[in-house]
Symmetry: D2
Subunit: 268 residues, 4 copies
């Protein structure tokens, strides 16, 4: 599976369709992913997992190793977080996704997590991407906050060219001039990336806006322009979240969005 | 109708609902607007007007005075363009919108056009905005390509504070770092501006993307996040358009989008 | 004096050298311009004019019609401001520069002001530029806050192609993602614009940074990379300035900068 | 050496002054750094080292592990490159700087290189930064292409808080909207970072502009606003460079710049 240097060539390929555990991912196959920014406690992650399961969501996200701008901010629970995430997912039969920050953690992450997330800050950490190209686990690759479409596709290429064909692309907002939102959610990325690549493209409206009240409208917009999935940060008590609380919604709000999104997916 | 300096205060006002000829505009009242970038010939503008009318569209756009980056590019037909636009609109009972570039043209524009458009390049042309504040015609105010939400609302305030209460805001893409699209369509502007202001907010996916193939998905996304209208560039033979041809769609493509959008508007 | 559509062609022309009153402007001929953001009182503008004159500065800036983001902010003294500016300049034998916001003011501005400034918000107000192309007064054209080099040169072309050959380009900062400075001063604009065009290029570090403490280092940097002039906002009591006070320096600070800059100009 | 979360606090510290081999680095102590984008051959790196040595330059840069956007581009010579770099530096008594892309390479890099560079793509690779905080080697930390000043200082904090106090900050251009230059060199970063931090701040005009003809003016501008050093890409035959050739200058051009810069450093 070698692409030429122009990732555009991949658009002539059939859309990627692949399995992760018992679920199917690919262009045109919508998958909701949700969970807390950080795994914090057993109660927290189990409450979320139970809620997601009851709504038919199949993928549970949860951070254990957290990339924080400051070394003095909460850095995540580490291994303990991974174990709690796995326990909750096993209990409710969910697929997990969590961020890998260091190639040295690969074995540990593979043991505990179903989908390895590369965060926006590491989108061009090519050493990490090359190691993921040799992993047996699928990868969720988030767009860097000032990466072009072409650069995102070339970063995916680092993984694909290593032999790992299960890559999911994620638009999560780009950096711009208006501080009102945390980032500018670039939804044109969805149709553009789907036309240039055979990979599924999902959207993260939580980081893409940084504001709770924008999650619902932007989630619906993402679905309307063809997103193959969403990733949304939820928490039983958002105001008490240890990280990203301004963009984290409650389980009640999530239920409402899940209903709207399902309706929209079926109507398209 | 005086706002304090923080336009945010307007969110405590009831949503603006106003008439333009026989049509009602306001938050929650979807209106499609379409037409050529530039009025070129009688055949062109009549063909478009007829098509729009047959689809139930009420607003016909068409440029007569064109703001072009280069003085050597086609500058529009001027008065002849306004006359053709008015004639076509009168024939098919449509409301017209066309750009005003100079306060000196105000009387001329008021005679021929129903909605006066301020283009993105003139969003902070305060002399023009003040004159429009005294006009009896409604104004379509496009966001500057690097204007913050706050700046857009303050520009609207120049019109509102002059006594003209019929203002429609338009998101049309912001300038960013990836040349793949002409601009980055910032759809978060829709829910943000609707929460900060009582004015209707529409979206122009043509300028917002600069690429034909993106008009359909982004039009649907705009509707899904609550846009109160769309403005789309159409042409009977897009490849022959004298301006903006890369982002102009055919009447056939427009029909398809109009159907999708209507379905979506009703389902929300 | 017709350029082809590619303004690049102008680089094959000899550098523009032109007179404004008794002073010579052009590539390689450094000119300092300074003065208040807004003309406020007779005392203020005369104190500044006297100081500039004593330091050998030849150009006095001062705003009379002010483009303010909000309609409720101080809008300048208007005609009274122009009269005070002219009176102070006549007393101290200075050349004046002030912003024109509206083509209707052209005759009035020409009567009172030696160099007509087009502000960044109006860089693509083509109606205004066309009128300035027919004016007998030289034009200082500021770069729009998200204008490309090419767009700035094409805006200059609107003036040049009308027959007015005395145009000065001004870099004054572009919009970016870090709110620490008001704008990002793009000093590469100096050598780039001088290579693409025959026009003189000056730098405004006041708007370009928005912070007093950065005026000195960035003024020196501008000179070091070849700026043909500087425009700096000064005020006898900066903390009391009615506009732009955070970026306005005292006459004492200006004296220090003027000395450093002159030394640097001579050493290059 | 613990900072509080606001790195600003460091401005109350005395400027950092530290030794790297026999050379002193710190605020106010100018150091030129130059060399090829990539070490390519023994002839190439020795020719450059000899030239630098003859001009009094003390620091030789050279890439061995190259972060390339595409996995199919030249990735550097790896260990062989490090060995050639060290050999040339030992012969001419130079200090070396080369990029570390992976924490796993730390021991290898420490054996061969005097200053470990973190590239802009890895500025927020916190796993790598934490490991460098425990290294005995000084670190050259390049600003990410859309990192705020605050984020850059917090990334430095990851290294400083680990106990490694020898950190050099480097401005190398930020991403913006005009494709004429590769990046926008943000020279305000120099005085801003020097006021917020006690660390030395250097400038890389090669990546900051991406164009050969801009290296000289921007190098001078950087010095004029207080840069504590420069990093410039040079090559005996720039047109044949395997990477970054558009921004790489010849040894002859470098000699000219070195002379100009030294004159400017002494005159300030």
């Amino acid at each position: 599976m070698k692409f030429t240097i122009e990732p555009k060539s991949s658009s002539s390929k059939p859309s990627a369709i692949f399995q992760i555990k018992n679920e199917t991912f690919g262009q045109g196959l919508f998958q909701m992913m949700a969970g807390p920014c950080s795994v914090e406690t057993r109660e927290q992650i189990f409450a979320i997992a139970e809620c997601l399961s009851s709504l038919g969501v199949k993928v549970l996200r949860g951070g254990a190793f957290k990339p924080r701008s400051s070394p003095y901010s909460f850095q995540g629970l580490g291994l303990a977080g991974l174990q709690l995430l796995k326990e909750a997912a096993d209990t409710y039969n969910l697929i997990t996704v969590s961020e890998i920050m260091d190639g040295e953690d690969l074995h540990l992450m593979e043991e505990h997590v179903d989908i390895l997330q590369v965060g926006s800050r590491n989108m061009q950490n090519y050493s990490l991407l090359k190691k993921l190209g040799k992993s047996s686990k699928p990868v969720l690759l988030k767009r860097g906050c000032s990466a072009t479409y072409h650069e995102l596709l070339l970063s995916a290429e680092y993984i694909l060219s290593g032999g790992n064909e299960r890559v999911i692309l994620c638009e999560r907002g780009i950096r711009s001039f208006d501080a009102y939102t945390r980032n500018v959610l670039d939804l044109s990325a969805v149709p553009v990336l789907k036309s240039l690549s055979h990979l599924p493209v999902i959207v993260d409206p939580s980081h893409g806006t940084g504001r709770r009240e924008l999650i619902e409208p932007m989630a619906k917009a993402a679905v309307a322009c063809g997103a193959d999935g969403l990733m949304i940060e939820v928490h039983p008590t958002p105001d008490e979240a240890l990280s990203d609380k301004d963009q984290t919604i409650s389980l009640e709000s999530f239920k409402k969005i899940m209903g709207d999104v399902q309706k929209l997916v079926h109507s398209l």
